[in-house]
């Protein structure tokens, strides 16, 4: 808000400039210095900046205590706590994914900051206290500057939250990867941008109702950008976070323009802040220059972030998908060799726990000399919107042969289960591994993963699924949550990385009955009748007899296609 004197001076300046441009001011020396910047004696400048800093501090403290910001903070923390309680994502986080997912949550804090700052800008108007601001010693633009600076504590708070969450996730035993500083800084930058926009909006539209309206428009724009069919558009928005259901990748394959996006956000914040200062009466050329430079920076960074993914990265992604062996490192634990992308190497501990759980009840004589587990990147890595192609199982088999890890069991990039996920990674891996363990070994068998979900039929299916489900508590819970999600007479245990396994529902029910019994009892019967149980020709009812449970009889197939799952069962 300009004071009366400033409005007059602005008017006079404008008139003078117009007259000068028309050449109506005789005697005005051509090179005469013109007033630029806030006028003051040099002696006063430090005091004015100190006053601006004092005001910024006072406003910053009020901002941090404002209900809108505290509400945003509470929602942020609440969402994260909810996530930790209800989802496995927090137990096995991929840190170079979680860094950008945090930005989404911090949007709530940014919204709270926007509302709080906007109300602070309009405080004199809302409280009908403009009289106090009509003749201030501190120039009005300095109050605007102070309000802009007051956003910094909120941005620092956002940074602390982002870092704290990253540290918390990083300390989880199942954490892999490492966060990107640019991604972590984007959330605080959005808070800064929201604050600058609030100051500008409050300086321009002197109505408290304008805040929620601007915020609503911003929210609509953000959602529209996120839902846009053009993936690159989302980078023009505040956050550019892909669908969380997209598979994790090694960080070097992400190729997210996080740094240019951060620069883009910061430049936008500077542009908005400079516009607010100019609007508030600052007439320094320096601010105009900064605004122009920041605008150029925003446009440049905005353009840079839209550059297409380099061909080398696309090739690397294809390599990771089709033939990952050369990029992975392997760790042997007991009979099992686990191969993973280096950032995910620690995951082998979680895989080994399940694999050991499966192998525990397999008679020693019937265990293979070696098993291989290889991490697989799912079908598409370029966009969550694209249709996932079938897994390149032939290429995988060839890659395994080259690497000396034949018939490796695929395991995905994620681990754990999520209530919102369509699949459960633990039971999927356990079932795939149990499938491999219960296979009859034939010499020269060079097969690998099938392109379609493998049908686990008859007694072998029952014993394999029981081995998988009892391998770890979360595997059993994964199975129990999978069953209701399957329709018809077939239960599919899907995997994000590869085709999963499919069983007849009646066989799964038999397994669930077995799981209700003491594992030692069932294991003893499995060990006794191992050869017959894993024989593909042994039907399900026979498995029931051998394991001491009544196997439900298979219903007459209603769908001819489903009947083909286990034709001999």
């Amino acid at each position: 808000m300009r004071t009366a004197w400033e409005r007059k001076e602005r008017k006079e300046r404008k008139g003078r400039n117009e007259r000068e441009s028309r050449g109506d001011v005789p005697g005005a020396p051509a090179g005469a210095p013109r007033s630029s910047g806030p006028p003051s004696s040099g002696r006063l400048l430090p005091r004015r900046w100190a006053a601006t800093a004092d005001l910024a501090r006072a406003e910053g403290v009020r901002l941090l205590r404002h209900p809108a910001l505290l509400g945003g903070l509470a929602v942020c923390l609440g969402l994260w706590v909810l996530d930790a309680v209800t989802s496995d994502a927090d137990r096995y986080p991929v840190l170079h994914d979680e860094d950008r997912y945090a930005q989404l949550t911090l949007l709530v804090l940014a919204a709270g900051t926007f509302l709080a700052v906007h109300l602070a800008v309009l405080r004199p108007v809302r409280d009908e206290a403009t009289d106090w601001h009509e003749a201030p010693v501190l120039e009005p633009w300095r109050r605007t500057a102070a309000l802009l600076l007051s956003v910094l504590p909120a941005a620092v708070l956002a940074a602390v939250l982002a870092v704290a969450r990253s540290v918390y996730l990083g300390l989880r035993p199942g954490a892999v990867g490492s966060p990107s500083a640019s991604e972590l800084a984007a959330g605080p930058a959005v808070v800064l941008l929201a604050g600058a926009l609030a100051v500008l909006a409050g300086t321009w539209l002197r109505s408290a109702a304008a805040g929620p309206i601007v915020l609503g428009l911003l929210a609509i724009g953000t959602v529209a950008g996120a839902l846009s069919p053009f993936a690159s558009w989302r980078w023009w928005g505040l956050v550019a976070v892909e669908d969380e259901s997209r598979a994790s990748l090694p960080s070097e394959l992400l190729h997210r323009p996080a740094a240019p996006h951060l620069l883009y956000l910061l430049c936008l914040a500077v542009v908005l802040g400079a516009l607010a200062l100019l609007r508030a009466g600052h007439r320094g050329r320096a601010v105009q220059a900064v605004a122009a430079l920041a605008l150029a920076g925003a446009v440049t960074a905005g353009a840079v972030q839209l550059r297409p993914v380099p061909e080398s990265v696309n090739e690397a992604r294809d390599g990771a998908r089709l033939a990952p062996a050369r990029d992975q490192q392997c760790t042997r634990e007991g009979r099992v060799t686990y191969c993973a992308f280096p950032e995910f190497a620690e995951r082998h501990r979680q895989w080994a726990r399940v694999a050991d759980g499966v192998l525990r009840w397999v008679p020693a004589r019937d265990r293979a000399e070696r098993y291989f587990v290889r991490q697989r990147v799912p079908g598409t890595v370029t966009s969550a919107d694209e249709v996932q192609p079938p897994p390149p199982v032939d290429r995988w088999a060839a890659d395994d042969r080259r690497a000396g890890t034949p018939r490796s069991v695929p395991v995905g990039m994620e681990w754990g289960s999520g209530s919102d996920s369509a699949h459960d990674d633990t039971i999927a891996f356990a079932a795939a591994f149990a499938n491999r363990v219960t296979e009859r070994r034939t010499s020269g068998d060079s097969g690998g993963t099938a392109p379609e979900p493998a049908a686990l039929c008859g007694a072998r299916g029952i014993v394999a699924l029981w081995l998988a489900a009892q391998s770890a508590p979360e595997a059993e819970s994964g199975l129990r949550s999978t069953v209701p999600r399957s329709f018809g007479d077939t239960v599919e245990i899907e995997s994000a990385a590869a085709p999963g396994v499919a069983l007849q529902r009646t066989d799964v029910e038999t397994v669930l009955r077995l799981l209700d019994r003491p594992a030692d009892d069932v294991a003893a019967k499995v060990a006794t009748s191992w050869a017959e149980l894993v024989d593909p020709d042994t039907p399900s009812p026979r498995a029931g007899e051998l394991l001491g449970v009544r196997a439900p009889s298979a219903p007459a197939p209603a769908d001819p296609e489903e009947a083909q799952l286990c034709p001999r069962a």
């Binding site: 004071t3 009366a4 409005r7 004696s41 006072a58 501190l138 109050r143």
Partner: protein, 310 residues
């Protein structure tokens, strides 16, 4: 009605060049100041000088009092004329800041940031006044709050304070920084008699060594506090002299009667049942001691109609 004699307005000293003070020890002056609001003349070529002590500013609603005060407080730019405060011309941004630093302005019926405590509010305005040493500023805020009798209420939110207390907070805000010029626009509005008395004491103290311009409708306050009174009417200075002289305008023109005297310009029944009349008394009338208000009413020549005392 026109007063028989209108004391001449003291000659306005030259406003330029300005020294530390305006000539003759005056600390603020306006010369030929005219302010218009959308064609309506609020101040019409007003000239006035202010010096140390309390000066009262009287005038009916719409007389231009607030406009004059805002002009002197550098909150308003005159359409024409010159303004000087503490020897400085507010037309220069740097000088204007210096004026504001040494000037306390209490606006008329100001709003408050209701969620602030009294301390926070005054502290906030002290920051706007560029008092940057935090400890000194906090001491100053405590001092002014104590001066207006709010030492114990400084931690209370403004929305929890009574109207009178808030008015005291406003005065405290105007006092921050120990300004040499104080401009108070109806500071006693909404105060009970006891609070008004405390205000008088405070303002009387403030008038020592400072220039205080007090705009009010309370003629008793002016009579009690001011060594000089200025009456504004329709944007022009109608009177500028001592309160005693303004009372003297009504000398011999106030009388009592048992019935309302039709010859009186104004008259009202007092609590004792007699009528107090002002105007031209009849022969042999029982004259009364004139008050400042009588002089003011006679000066303006218009008397509010609703003066019938209860």
């Amino acid at each position: 009605m026109t007063p028989s004699t209108t004391p001449p307005t003291p000659p306005t000293p030259p406003l330029t060049p300005f020294g530390d003070t305006v000539a003759g020890g005056d600390t603020a002056a306006v010369r030929n100041v005219t302010v218009r609001y959308r064609g309506t003349v609020a101040l019409n070529s007003v000239s006035l000088t202010l010096s140390e002590g309390v000066t009262g500013l009287l005038g009916p609603n719409g007389a231009g009092k607030t406009t004059l005060l805002r002009t002197l407080a550098t909150a308003l730019v005159p359409d024409s004329g010159d303004v000087a405060v503490l020897g400085r011309n507010p037309g220069s941004p740097g000088r204007r800041q210096e004026i504001r630093r040494n000037l306390g302005y209490l606006p008329q019926s100001p709003g408050f940031h209701r969620h602030f405590t009294a301390f926070e509010f005054v502290d906030y305005l002290a920051i706007l006044k560029e008092i940057t040493d935090r400890r000194r500023r906090h001491d100053e805020v405590r001092r002014v709050l104590a001066a207006v009798g709010l030492r114990d209420e400084r931690g209370k939110r403004l929305k929890a304070l009574s109207g009178g207390m808030r008015q005291r907070v406003a005065l405290a805000a105007a006092l921050v920084g120990d300004p040499r010029v104080l401009i108070l626009d109806e500071p006693t509005v909404g105060l009970d008699p006891e609070q008004r008395l405390r205000f008088r004491e405070l303002i009387a103290d403030l008038g020592v060594g400072r220039t205080v311009l007090l705009s009010t409708h309370q003629t008793e306050d002016v009579a009690a506090l001011c060594r000089r009174v200025v009456v504004l009417d329709r944007g022009e200075v109608r009177y500028d002299a001592t309160p005693e002289r303004l009372s003297g305008v009504a000398e011999g023109r106030v009388w009592f009667s048992t019935e309302r005297d039709p010859r009186a310009a104004a008259g009202w029944r007092t609590g004792r049942g007699t009528y107090r009349n002002i105007g031209s008394p009849p022969e042999g009338a029982r004259l009364a001691e004139p008050s400042l208000e009588d002089g003011y009413l006679l000066l303006l020549g218009s008397v509010p109609e609703q003066r019938e005392a209860a």
